[in-house]
Amino acid sequence: MAVTLLGAAIVVFVVIRVVPGNPIVMMLPPNATQVDIDRLSALYGLDKSIFEQFVIWLGGVLKGDFGTSISLRQPVLDLALGRLPATLELSLMALLFAVLIGGVLALTGTRRRQTRTEGAIDIVNGISLSVPDFLWGLLLILLFGVLWPVFHISGRVTPSLDLNFSTNFLLIESLLRLRLDVTGDLLAHMFMPALALSIPLAAVLSQLLKQSLKETLHLDYVTLSRTKGYSENHVILKEALRNAILPTLTLIGVQFTFLIGGTVIIERLFSYEGLGNMAIDAVINRDLPLIQGIVILFALIFTIVNLAVDMTYALLNPRLRHA
């Protein structure tokens, strides 16, 4: 895991230093002298060799210092952590949607297996799987932003709202402080980007879980349960589901990292003030420290997600728990 993170850091570090365009030059007014440019370059440590820069940067990271953003003039860590809650809330909401939608579709498809309902669900899944979140986002903008303007298609929160929160976990804080007007506003803004992000994952989940459920329903312990007088619904929910979920879990983990990756473009699409949106600006502005910091942060999140999935799997599978 550490090797992967280190590798990622190296790759980014090298790649962005091949970037044409000098960020320092971009920052200064056109009549800046070479002396000014050199001075600023030295300030940002860009006058040293790549190797030296990497070592300095790595040393800083291990102490919690990710450098200073060239375009925004603030510490990278503060900037990134400032935007992180927005992206996390969006991703987790998307995950929730995906689980709900995918779960309902899978259960319905199983309950009504080999009927037209299941056929329709299969078709919907097939289409949802082939189309990436970017397109769903655009579609949603058209539907709910233009045709039936129910939700907001831009931003995270209405600027005129009076917010005096201590963290940037706006959604969670608004719930804790019972500022439900803020919660409503946030949800109205988050609904569409989260939905767009969730659709591909929901489709994968639905397909996999349905398949898994149908296979589980053939097992002996399920048949035995039927003889005890339990209804089809009970059998699916209480006997089969717990066991059918396990193979689905590991795939969800990987797919969730894809979802998080998708926030980059979805945030842009919906002008949502999250980490991904800032990242795109960072690239456009050639803001090297900021790019690095954000990429490493994403890599870290991905690693944590994978760990969490492994732990959840171990928790749900009694055989592993006692091993």
């Binding site: 097992l219 002996d220 048949t223 003889t227 007088g229 339990y230 066991n243 749900l316 009694p318």
Partner: protein
């Protein structure tokens, strides 16, 4: 019919739009009696048990006949009522203890679930009953075992749990589907003895499905022999082992290796007998519009 707890009348079943599986099967199991259902693999014995318990595979349909349980025709009931009736009055001892228990649930709830959810017992009563049952099936440290997961128990232990679960609601009918086939030989005898013991103690009607005549001689009062989904013989245990009527049954008996004659050669059922019996089956099919 008034004496029989289970009465199957002329049961016909086939694969959906395919060949027939059960051909006019009729058999009775009286209260407190043990009937063995014997036949080769594929003869349809499991199908009969599944038809009674309402767990036939989706591809198999009942095309005719009646199944009377305690005076009610199961096949004429609406599905929900049928489910509840079977759940309350019947139970199954399955074949493979390694797959018949839900790996994600502890074994305790798998014994008490029917009592609480379907029959409305209190949790306390159900748990007490579970401890009692574990005593009956000779599992020590009942409290501890009930909290375990299936994978923590041996095959023999799991089969005992399944037997306990089957007798939990005091069903009047139990269908045992080859309950010893998947077990080690050493454990088979114990389990067989246990089932016989429980049946005697609870006075349950038992339909015991098996392909092993050796097992039959130890447990049964009555015997039904099945060939290709058709009943070829129906006799009491004594009558059968004294002198079976049907040529197929006779060959079956002759084919069983005898403990008293270990060096005797094996006598498989002769082809002639098989052909003869197949002809009977074909005749039945023609009569009933399948041929």
């Amino acid at each position: 019919m008034t004496k029989s707890y289970l009465s199957i009348r002329d049961l016909n079943a086939s694969i959906h739009r395919g060949p027939p599986l059960l051909r006019g099967v009729s058999l009775d199991v009286a209260q407190g009696e043990v009937r063995c259902l014997v036949g080769e693999s594929g003869a349809g014995k499991s199908m009969i048990g599944k038809a009674v318990l309402g767990i036939l595979p989706r591809a198999v349909v009942v095309t005719g006949g009646e199944i009377w349980l305690d005076g009610e025709n199961l096949l004429a009931m609406p599905p929900a009522k049928r489910r509840k009736t079977i759940g309350a009055k019947a139970a199954m001892i399955p074949q493979d203890p390694l797959t018949a228990l839900n790996p994600s649930h502890r074994v305790g709830p798998q014994i008490t679930d029917r009592l609480v959810d379907i029959l409305g017992w209190t949790r306390a009563d159900a748990d007490a009953r579970a401890v009692e049952l574990l005593g009956e099936v000779h599992i020590p440290e009942a409290e501890r075992v009930l909290k375990m997961y299936p994978h923590e128990l041996s095959g023999g232990m799991r089969q005992r749990i399944l037997i306990a679960s089957a007798f939990a609601a005091e069903p009047k009918l139990i269908i045992a589907d080859e309950p010893t086939t998947a077990l080690d030989v050493t454990v088979q005898k114990q389990i067989l003895r246990l089932i016989a013991e429980m049946q005697r103690r609870h006075g349950t009607a038992l339909l015991f499905v098996t392909h092993d005549l050796g097992v039959v001689s130890k447990v049964g009062n009555h015997l039904t022999v099945l060939f290709a989904g058709k009943v070829v013989e129906d006799a009491s245990m004594r009558e059968f082992f004294a002198s079976p009527v049907h040529p197929y049954s006779r060959s079956l008996l002759a084919a069983t290796p005898k403990y008293t004659d270990p060096t005797g050669s094996l006598n498989p059922v002769p082809q002639a007998v098989i052909d003869e019996t197949m002809a009977e089956v074909a005749a039945y099919d023609r009569e009933h519009g399948h041929g």
